[in-house]
Amino acid sequence: MPAVVPNDSEPTLLSNLLAGGALENWTLKLYKTNVTPAETDTIASYTVADFTNYTNKTLTRSISGSTWSTPASGAPTGSWSGEASVAESTYQQQSWTCGATGNTIYGYWIEGATSTKLIMAELFATARTLASGDTLNLTPRIGLA
């Protein structure tokens, strides 16, 4: 299901769109509490994963072969929009491999690396219970309809 962009981050994202300027990187985090993202949320609404080998991931605010892909028009991936044509970009796939102690991962959130403002959050369609040796792959995708 599409990620929720909370009300609190909408002015920031709109400013980025209109004025550009120095853009802070984003941090991608997995969460281990069974929470459906709401538009009123902040980062305090989620509890970060802590399985063995867990690390947060940095999403660099750039377009390149190793960061966000060049935005392209096409049909919405996974039917997130009713429009026939939208613009989408994906970030290089991020992976985590669980060590000795696992977690059940319910979703992820993205926050400003400097501001720590919640940018977006998503509950997975199915929670992922990670045990030793299990890998979780996640491909962030942003679209504009």
């Binding site: 069974n34 459906t36 009123t40 305090a44 509950l123 996640l138």
Partner: protein, 119 residues
């Protein structure tokens, strides 16, 4: 008076609604399961999630996730023996309305300072 034609449009929107709970879900706190949260006038409370593919590529339809007093999703043991979230498809909800009063939010997930539920 609820508008019987109203449907949520915003992903992540708080709603209050009437629906039949799956068997096995009760307003209880025994067994470590958090109690189902209700508004002061007895409506269930949930968050609308728009359908589509998630970041792992798995597809799900639009649904309303039932919320507990802790603010987390309510889980139950399905007939298949799996622990699942209590979630309702739009056609399983008899009536729903936007939740607009912060006092009706679950105590474990209060409205942040400066935030609003108003559209």
């Amino acid at each position: 008076m609820p508008d019987l034609l109203w449907q949520p449009t915003r992903n992540g929107q708080w709603v209050k609604f009437k629906a039949t709970l799956p068997s096995g879900v009760a307003n209880r706190q025994d067994g470590g399961l958090p109690a189902v949260h209700t508004t002061r006038d007895g409506w269930l409370v949930g968050i609308f999630s728009r359908g589509g593919a998630d970041a792992t590529g798995e597809l799900r339809p639009s649904r309303v996730h039932l919320v507990a007093v802790t603010g987390e999703n309510v889980e139950y043991l399905s007939p298949a023996g799996k622990l699942e979230n209590v979630a309702f498809l739009p056609e399983e909800i008899s009536v729903w309305m936007p939740l607009l009063d912060p006092a009706d939010l679950p105590p474990g997930r209060p409205l942040p300072a400066g935030a609003s539920l108003l559209p």
